[in-house]
Amino acid sequence: MTKQKKKPKIYDYFKETEDPYAGGVAWCPGCTLELTARFVPKVLGNDIILVGCPCCAAPVLYGQNLGTWHRLSYFSSLMTGVASSATGISRYYRKIGRDATVVCFTGDGCSADVGFQPLSGAAERNERIIYITYDNEGYMNTGYQRSSTTPMGASTSTTPAGTISHGKPTPAKNVPLLMAMQGAAYAATATLSHLDDFARKLTKARQKIKEGFVYIHVFSPCVMGWRIEADMSIQVCRMAVRTNYFPLWEAENGRFRLTHEVSSPKPVQEYLRLIRKFSHLKETEINEFQQMVDRKYAVIKRLCVTE
């Protein structure tokens, strides 16, 4: 077998190869959040200031008394105050002329729900922060309750599939689109199956933060909450992209572009069948789901600038 001589191109994006996290940390086997958390500092550097809140990342991001699981500078906020505390830190460093990259790192429960107000405010004021959401479509840390990014039909602990109701009755909020519409300097979607794309976007984020607000929404399946096999989490990301359920796009100052256009999207059933939180869906519901995916994709496609 011939060995590849060079490492893949993605390594060119890495500013840092030393992993700031301890080898063993309390994230589930197969957790895409762990991959995201370890991946982000590789591209953005180990000198970022992370701002987080209670969520799935917190047991690892936060210290325990004096001890900590990583070597990154961090600020622990409450769910209501992530984007706002980050604003304060960023503004202070700018005032004293100190170069610092402030990165918010939260789940969808914060960005889409309880922390949405400050997020929207920071985006509108064009604060120089990078806000990264890992979207596992629910409040996973507290027991897989639904959030506003939980898709329609998903069975969660607060929208269980029962005899009267059949999963979450309403479609998900499209947070990255909202951020792009707010005029963020850079808004993008990314996921763990397409790491080159993610690395390129993080690199872009490092530049765009000098101009204004940056938002990156990472599709990040939860092995436990979605009931998928631990070894399938990356494949689930891949199928989300291939079915256009989670299109990969970016919007630079409102100019949209699909960064990974899927030429023949697979039917969304290929994605749903991998995930047991959808196993109760009837054929009519799956068709509805497909229509919703198509509608959502059509909006993004229409917004894309054709040169």
């Binding site: 500078s73 961090y74 107000q117």
Partner: protein, 390 residues
């Protein structure tokens, strides 16, 4: 200059050169935000002003900036304070030396656009130092002293400077604006102290660790102990302020004609001024009454109060707020807790001045009469809701 209480607060903040300040409008303090923005827009202040989208963000922004190392300032009132309450507690846990002014207004609970001290009472246990001022000049001076107190290495606690909403906030009085160089000099003492721990990019220090068992208890204990230290520290700072600026306010409490008094009236805020007039009138009538103006509310000025109240025969407390469950005003309730040290003396609670209703000189004179009667051993009413008796 002749300026409103709100404008005075803004001048006080500007003179202290905060690095980051936030503002969100709420009656009756919106003018503080406007004034600070005007200073910034006209180059009078280099502070980073952040016009946030809500009070919760107002507090979180300054908490972040403070833990990154900056001097910070914000302002709010009643409902705004309620909305930012999670961040208020969080900032105290961080030990962020933030200074916030509050133009006191009725709330929370029953909607009112009028003055009262309910907002002070509703956040008693947040872990913030709470000072209540009587008049305009005191607002400005106390803000300067608040930074000395908050940023003191032995303290490192956030401070709330409270002033009467609607009364002081909107009333224009003659204010002496101190020289910038004097204020800089007064605050420069802080530079001689060790530096507090702050966030630094690239340094593996995390702000806001999870408190586990004994670690949590230790953090709480140190918060409480620092709070206790703040009482005496305020007296020290007030004395030093007096030496440099020629004005001092008594520190934790102001004692007015206390030494030879038999009975005492305890009040806080603007009403203390009115009470001084009533005290003088009653003195002329032969009643040996004195006034304690409660300036420091948290930490509760236990030591100073015990000394001042020692040997007094009865106490009347004016509360501009309510407390639930003790059938008396909240400050009266706290004074009752001094019984082991001052002995069992009648403590008469007067609830007045809610919802912008005036506390008049006749109200206070009536209270003094009743307190005097109680001191002489006659029966008395423990709690009186003055507005309902008219």
């Amino acid at each position: 200059m002749v300026i409103t209480g709100n404008a005075t607060a803004a001048y006080g903040a500007m003179l202290c050169r905060p690095d980051v300040a936030t503002s969100y409008p709420i009656t009756p303090m919106s003018e503080v935000a406007e004034q600070l923005s005007a200073f910034r827009a006209n180059g009078l202040m280099e502070t980073e002003m952040v016009e946030v989208e809500g009070e919760n963000s107002a507090m979180n922004v300054v908490a972040g900036a403070s833990m990154a190392g900056g001097r910070t300032f914000t302002a709010t009132s009643s409902w705004g304070l309620s909305f930012m309450y999670d961040a208020v507690q969080h900032a105290a846990g961080f030990r962020a030396p933030i200074v916030m002014v509050i133009a006191n207004r009725e709330a929370p609970g029953i909607l009112a656009v009028s003055g009262g001290q309910q907002d002070i009472i509703s956040v008693r246990d947040a872990g913030w130092i709470q000072i209540i001022v009587e008049e305009g000049q005191e607002i400005l001076d106390t803000i300067i002293m608040a930074y000395r107190l908050a940023e003191d290495y032995d303290i490192q606690l956030p401070v709330m400077v409270n002033y009467d909403g609607f009364y002081l906030s909107y009333m224009a009085t003659a204010i002496e604006i101190p020289e910038q160089t004097d204020v800089d000099h007064f605050l420069a003492t802080l530079k001689e102290q060790p530096k507090r721990q702050v966030l630094e990019p690239g340094v593996a220090l995390g702000c806001g660790t999870h408190g586990i068992e004994k670690g949590f208890v230790e953090l709480r204990y140190r918060q409480c102990v620092a709070m206790e230290r703040a009482a005496a520290k305020l007296d020290e700072i007030d004395r030093e302020f007096g030496e440099l600026f020629g004005r001092s306010y008594g520190g934790q409490i102001e004692e007015y004609r206390i030494d030879d008094a038999d009975i005492v009236v305890v009040a806080s805020g603007g009403v203390a001024g009115t009470a001084k007039v009533a005290v003088d009138t009653k003195r002329e009538q032969g009643i040996k009454v004195g006034l304690i103006k409660l300036r420091l509310f948290r930490p509760f000025p236990r030591q100073r109060l015990v000394e001042a109240l020692n040997g007094k025969k009865a106490i009347g407390v004016i509360d501009r707020s309510v407390g639930f469950g003790w059938d008396c005003g909240p400050m009266a309730m706290e004074l009752r807790a001094l019984t082991p040290e001052i002995g069992i003396v009648p403590i008469l609670s007067y609830i007045d001045g809610l919802a912008n209703l005036d506390i008049t000189i006749p109200h206070i004179e009536r209270a003094i009469d009743e307190v005097q009667s109680a001191a002489l051993g006659k029966s008395y009413q423990e709690v009186t809701w003055i507005p309902l008796e008219e």
